[in-house]
Symmetry: C2
Subunit: 227 residues, 2 copies
Amino acid sequence: MWRNWRHITKLDPDRKIPDEDLKTVATSGTDALLIGGTRGVTREKVVDLLERLKRFDVVKIQEPSNPANVVFEDIDYLFIPSILNSADPKWIVGLHAEWVRGLTLKHGSLPWDKIQGEAYIVLNPKSAVGIETKAKTDLSIEEACAYATCADRYMHFPIVYIEYSGTYGNPELVRAVRQSLSGSHLFYGGGIDSKEKAREMAKYSTIVVGNILYDDIEKFKQTLSYE
Amino acid sequence: MWRNWRHITKLDPDRKIPDEDLKTVATSGTDALLIGGTRGVTREKVVDLLERLKRFDVVKIQEPSNPANVVFEDIDYLFIPSILNSADPKWIVGLHAEWVRGLTLKHGSLPWDKIQGEAYIVLNPKSAVGIETKAKTDLSIEEACAYATCADRYMHFPIVYIEYSGTYGNPELVRAVRQSLSGSHLFYGGGIDSKEKAREMAKYSTIVVGNILYDDIEKFKQTLSYE
C-alpha cells in the first residue's frame, strides 16, 4: 500500500540512464519508481523506459505531466498531479477533465483503482515545473499549510506533494505542512542528495529522490540508508 | 445527514423576503436552507437573515461566496463552493486557501465537521455566478461529466453541484452526470419553479430551489409536492 512507502525514486524518461544504474536503482530497495518529468517527455520515451524496467520486480508509477503521455500497461499506479498554486486552472483541473473525457470516450472508463490524485504545492520558482505551470511559489509557511489544508480537508486529495524540484526545501515548512494534515499523505521532493537530507525530510514525509541518481549513483544509494 | 436530503431551499441574503414567506419556507418541509448569493451579500445581511431564522427548527447551511462573509454561529453546516470550470484559479482553490489561512491564524483551527466542499459546474453564462467567476459554461455533456468525474474520483469532493442558476437546465446532462458519479453526491440548481421540473431533476439529484420563492410563494410550495 502506497501509504506505507518511505522512499520513492523519480525517473525522468527524458534523461539518459545506463543499464547498470537503472538496475542499481530498481533493486536498491526504494519503495517505488515514479516515472515522470516536466519537459521533453513523450509517450515513446515513457514506453521505452517501462520496457527496460519490465524485468525488475519493483512498483512502477507513472506520473504524467500531460494527458498525451499516459500509459496504462506495465504500471501499478498512475499518480496525477494538480498544481494547486498554479495561476492557470488547466494545471489544477482543466487538463484532467480533458484527459478524463478523451479516455472515457476511447476506453469507456478509467482504471480508477490505479489512480491517485496528488495536490502539488510547487515552491521553486526556477524549476521547470514552477515556470511551466506559472506557480505562485512565494508562499509563506502559513500559506503553504493553507493550500495543504484545502487539499486535505476540503477537497480530500489522497496525496499532498511539496515540490521544491531541483533545490532543497525548508524543513520547517515541510514539518508545518505535515502537522496540518489530517487524511492526506505527504510527499516531499527536491534536492535530496545525502543521507542527512533524506533523514531530515523523511521525518515528516515520504521522500522522493530524483536528480542525484543521474549525477552520482553512489550518493543516490546513501539516500536509502538514512534510517 | 445531508446525503439524504431531497429538497434544499436557497435563500439570498441580498433579497428581501416578508416574515410570512420566510415562515412558509422554513416550515415547508424543505430539508435545509442554504443561505448564500453571488452579489451584494454582506456579513451583516447574513447575520440578519440568520437572526430572523433562529426561531425555526430547520437545518441551516451557509454557502459563502466570499471568505469575508463566513459566519460560524447559528448554522449547522458551511458548504463551500469551488467553481471547477472557472478560468480563474482563485474560484477553485485560491480564495479558499486565503480563507483557511486567515481563519486559522484567528481561531487556531476550523470546524471541519461542519464544512463540506462543493465542486460547482456552472452552466449558465448569463448568471451572476457565471459572469463573476469567468466560468467556461459552454460544456458538452461529456465535458460536464469529465469535470464531475475529476471532482468525484480524482479530488474526492463530497458534493458535485450542477448550477444553471436562473435558468432550467438540460435533464439529459444532469442524468449523465449522475450516472458518472461514484462517491460524490449530486446537487442540481436552476429554474425549478413547478412540480414537474422538481420531479424531473429530483430523479437524478438533490434539487436546490431558489428564485421562485421570491416571485411566487405558491409555486415554491409546489416544488415540494412532486413526489
